[in-house]
């Protein structure tokens, strides 16, 4: 067992020039370094060589799709995936002794990195009311305590059940079944904070909430847009697909407020040109856009396409597609023709010439794909922006045909599958009817609470019990101080977790830690060895089978914990075979196959190499909207008012980080080393604001409620962010994201569009004696 670090790391900042390429040999070195720091060479070998292989472990990292069976590399993972999987496979362990030596209050003062580095949780722990310590509790008592709290609630709607995207399909299905059998739709999930805007916009316009492209499409596209995303750090295997597309002749346009290394050049460490050569250029054109300017960009582009059609009638737009498959074109056209160029150029920070050059690229391209991520969705107008992207694609028929389409790039391995399994607070009646028919209980029909509304309900005392399955809710959620206060108002907070994180230190009156198996570990139940299934960002559902011995013999799987909890809580009130589900996950999949459309014959089909590809109706020529047609929309935007002396802040992850968990204090692509409390600001803005590089500042949030949101003691780094904007790391800056600052329609926090000012920080207390 490796020893965890006792002390917090040093925080001396050094800054080097940002990298102009991603991956290459350094990626291999860093991946192996971190893996071997965490675990043994043998375990690292097992995880890495089975990762993303047929019959192996699905990377618990991002949701990028795997190449077809037979076309995968021997090493089918990226630097970040390797770190992520070996972070879970660590040989460090947390036992009851650890909690005797550390009070909850003390743990609450520790950094995210320190908490994560203590190792795997190995036994159930409880924090009793009035105590400041977790203490061991038996599984039986822990589940009994949680069940007793659930049954004592005034209403099932006083509980919320949160999931993170690591949760398998089987566990997600069991969780939503349990919640609904109990009587609530309160199923917030991490999707609420990531791509909710994409889901709502795609559902409204195309009738389906998922992306339409596959890896095949990317490989054969003529033109690919990468909008508001950083593939080099957040989904590095996308770079391999982009490289393939480039080798096939595609051109790429990157649109982002930061010129990220992964957008510029990729050195594939598995190819000679990536090891000793210069790699491959990714973006042929980089649009240095202002945060939140994407809607204006696509509207400007759409207007230019309409005008190009005016100049060359019948040559630019796909009239056949528009007339056969869409509605609302005339209203859309009228709206877009009236937009003001002045507004577009102000919102984007681009020149008209730059946008015209993009138009020319589009006109030269028969097959166009738009990829996007949270740089698009986490704005007030995230939903309208995605709708405008759909407008753009539809104008030239770039939907529902090979090499073209919409590609929301999701960030967590099974975030899409969890939704497919019904983890959503607003599931349609068709799904609830199927549950009713299959299990014979009446699922609640009233919509439940999403993440933001759960926090509000906790704050108001309407929620008494929070159960989190995976994830780190208090760090992923906005308005950290508000969220933490809300959590502390609960009667009981419980987390099903593999590792320690801050959510365990922000406790309700009673708190439980329920340690669980990781995805890397063998899962043996009464029915024999089990596998789980997951769905990637391209709707491919496949298996994941752990290979390592579990961190402790007493760990229960997520499915087992939830089934045992359901048995104790519901006590036979619904006709659901929880015991059988726990013994054999195939029994869960049999039920899923009868409830979730498209997953018929689930057990047999998912066992085939590569699993099941769920078709997208759009590619079948079907638009399941109420009218049966895809919808052109009219989209308006209102850019945030940025008073003089203020900047628009976007929160982002470092390269050495997985969601809320930083692995080190470094972000080598951006040249940041040793300290994460930095704010990246354009040198011209620094000069205008009278700030000096290296100066210590507090980030002060500005919001309508005049709340005192302050992220203290950040060092200023001059960086080529778009003018008028700043960037700083998540989750440290979540404290600045107001709970009420959400995207229209999707209720997604606007973590990429926060108005801040930089105030000189108070002098640090002297550390000398």
């Amino acid at each position: 067992m490796k020893k965890p670090p006792g002390e917090e790391p040093e925080d001396a900042l050094t800054v080097t020039p940002p990298k102009k390429w991603a991956a290459g040999v350094p990626a291999v070195v860093h991946a192996l370094e971190y893996s071997l720091e965490e675990t043994s060479p043998r375990r690292a070998g097992v995880t890495l060589l089975t990762m993303n292989q047929v019959g192996g472990i699905d990377c618990p990292g991002c949701a990028w799709a795997d190449p077809s069976p037979g076309h995968r590399h021997r090493n089918e993972y990226c630097e970040n995936g390797a770190k992520h999987i070996n972070d879970e496979a660590t040989t460090r362990r947390i036992t009851g002794d650890f909690f005797r030596g550390h009070t909850v209050s003390e743990l609450g003062r520790r950094s995210d990195m320190w908490l994560n580095s203590q190792g795997r949780l190995t036994e159930p722990m409880v924090k009793r009311p009035g105590s400041d310590n977790y203490e061991p509790i038996s599984w039986n008592d822990a589940i009994g305590l949680l069940a007793a709290e659930l049954t004592s609630l005034g209403s099932p709607d006083e509980a919320v059940f949160y999931t993170s995207g690591r949760v398998s399909n089987e566990a997600a299905f069991v969780l939503q079944l349990f919640a609904r059998a109990l009587g609530t739709n309160n199923l917030p999930d991490c999707s609420n904070m990531c791509h909710e805007s994409s889901g709502f916009a795609l559902y409204e316009t195309l009738g389906t909430g998922k992306g339409t492209v596959s890896l095949h499409d990317l490989h054969h596209a003529d033109l690919i847009f990468l909008v508001g995303q950083n593939p080099g750090s957040n989904h590095p295997r996308q770079l391999s697909a982009l490289e393939q597309a480039k080798l096939n002749g595609a051109r790429i346009i990157a649109v982002n407020p930061l010129p990220e290394a992964g957008l510029l050049r990729f050195k594939d460490p598995q190819k000679a040109r990536g090891v000793i050569g210069h790699g491959i250029r990714i973006a042929d054109r980089f649009l240095h856009i202002r945060p939140g300017g994407d809607l204006a960009l696509f509207q400007g582009l759409n207007r230019l396409l309409l005008e190009a059609e005016d100049a060359r009638p019948g040559k630019v737009l796909d009239h056949d597609f528009i007339s056969s498959n869409t509605s609302g074109f005339e209203e859309f056209s009228e709206h877009v023709r009236a937009i003001s160029w002045e507004d577009v150029l102000t919102a984007t920070g681009l020149t008209r010439k730059e946008i015209e050059q993009v138009r020319d690229e589009v006109l030269r391209s028969e097959r166009v794909i738009v990829c996007w991520a949270m740089g698009v969705t986490q704005h007030k107008h995230g939903v309208p922006t995605v709708r405008e992207i759909v407008n753009f694609l539809m104008l030239r028929g770039n939907l529902g045909r090979a090499g073209a389409g919409a590609c929301p790039v999701r960030g967590h391995s099974n975030v899409q599958g969890d939704r497919t399994m019904g983890v959503w607070e607003q599931m349609p009646d068709s799904f609830l009817d199927a549950l009713q028919q299959e299990f014979g209980f009446d699922p609640p029909r009233a919509h439940g609470l999403d993440s933001v509304n759960s926090i509000k309900a906790m704050r108001e005392g309407r929620i008494k019990l929070f159960l989190g399955v995976a994830g780190n809710f208090v760090r992923a959620a906005p308005d950290s101080a508000v969220t933490e206060d809300a959590m502390r108002k609960c009667r009981l907070t419980a987390h099903i977790s593999t590792k320690l994180n801050r959510s365990h230190t922000v406790c309700g009156r009673t708190a439980l830690i329920l340690p669980t198996l990781g995805r890397t570990e063998r899962d043996i139940q009464s029915g024999g060895e089990q596998f789980v299934t997951v769905e990637n960002s391209m709707s491919e559902v496949h298996t994941s089978r752990g290979r390592l011995q579990p961190a402790s013999k007493l760990l229960l799987s997520e499915v087992a914990i939830l089934c045992r909890l359901a048995r104790r809580t519901l006590n036979g009130t619904a006709d659901i075979p929880w015991e059988k589900f726990e013994a054999d996950y195939g029994a869960i999949r049999d039920r899923i196959s009868r409830i979730v459309p498209g997953l018929y014959d689930f057990n047999r089909r998912v066992a085939r190499p590569g699993g099941i590809r769920l078709p997208n109706p759009v590619n079948e020529g079907v638009f399941p909207t109420p009218s049966g047609k895809a919808l052109f929309t009219r989209n308006a935007w209102e850019m945030p008012h940025i008073p003089e002396g203020h900047l628009l802040l976007q929160t982002l992850r470092s390269h050495d980080q997985w969601n809320t968990v930083p692995y080190t204090s470094n972000d080598r692509y951006r040249g940041i080393h040793g300290n994460r409390r930095v704010v990246l600001v354009n040198p011209a803005d620094l000069s205008e604001l009278g700030l000096a590089e290296g100066q210590r500042v507090d980030l002060v949030g500005v919001w309508a409620d005049n709340g005192k949101r302050r992220a203290e003691d950040f060092q200023v780094v001059a960086y080529p962010t778009a003018r008028g904007s700043a960037a700083a790391y998540y989750p440290e800056t979540q404290v600045l994201v107001p709970l009420d600052s959400v995207a229209e329609i999707s209720n997604q926090p606007t973590s990429k569009g926060i108005v801040v000012r930089l105030e000189p920080a108070a002098p640090r207390p002297s550390t000398s004696a």
Partner: protein
Amino acid sequence: MNTIEEMIEVAVPVRTAYNQWTQFKSFPRFMAVVKRVEQVGPSVTAWVIGLGPVHREFEAEIVEQEPDSHLAWRSLERHPSHRGEVSFRPTAAGGTAVTVRMQVEPRSVAGVPTNVPRVVGRVVRFELGHFKEFIEGLGQEGGGWRGTIHNGHVRPAEPQPPRSRVPCWPVG
């Protein structure tokens, strides 16, 4: 691009011949060079073909398709690329004239032009013979897809084809 054209008459009605042709996954059953076909979607297929020591994989997009009339495809790979059309016309005898027209990119190996089009022509003629033997032998198609495709966009024959029945609710 070099153009190849091959025609064969088969003694089954147009509907039967056309329907069988839409069952791409069955091609390895009767064609010699087609080793495997995956139907990625209604308009996209992935092919593995092999002839002697030569083994190649490619994906093809059907860009036009009209039941009982024709379908046109193109390879999605840019190099080497090919495109083609197969048409079905009724004959006076009640059978079907199946015509394949292909445009094949001439290739060179180390600067020396090769006669790929002639080889492809011969293979097409050979495989059309296999198709004739198969469909005439069975007399009935093993299935059929009756949708249309125009400019790569699919128009299904029924309002809700089975493959479109999947979860459609928003995914965050």
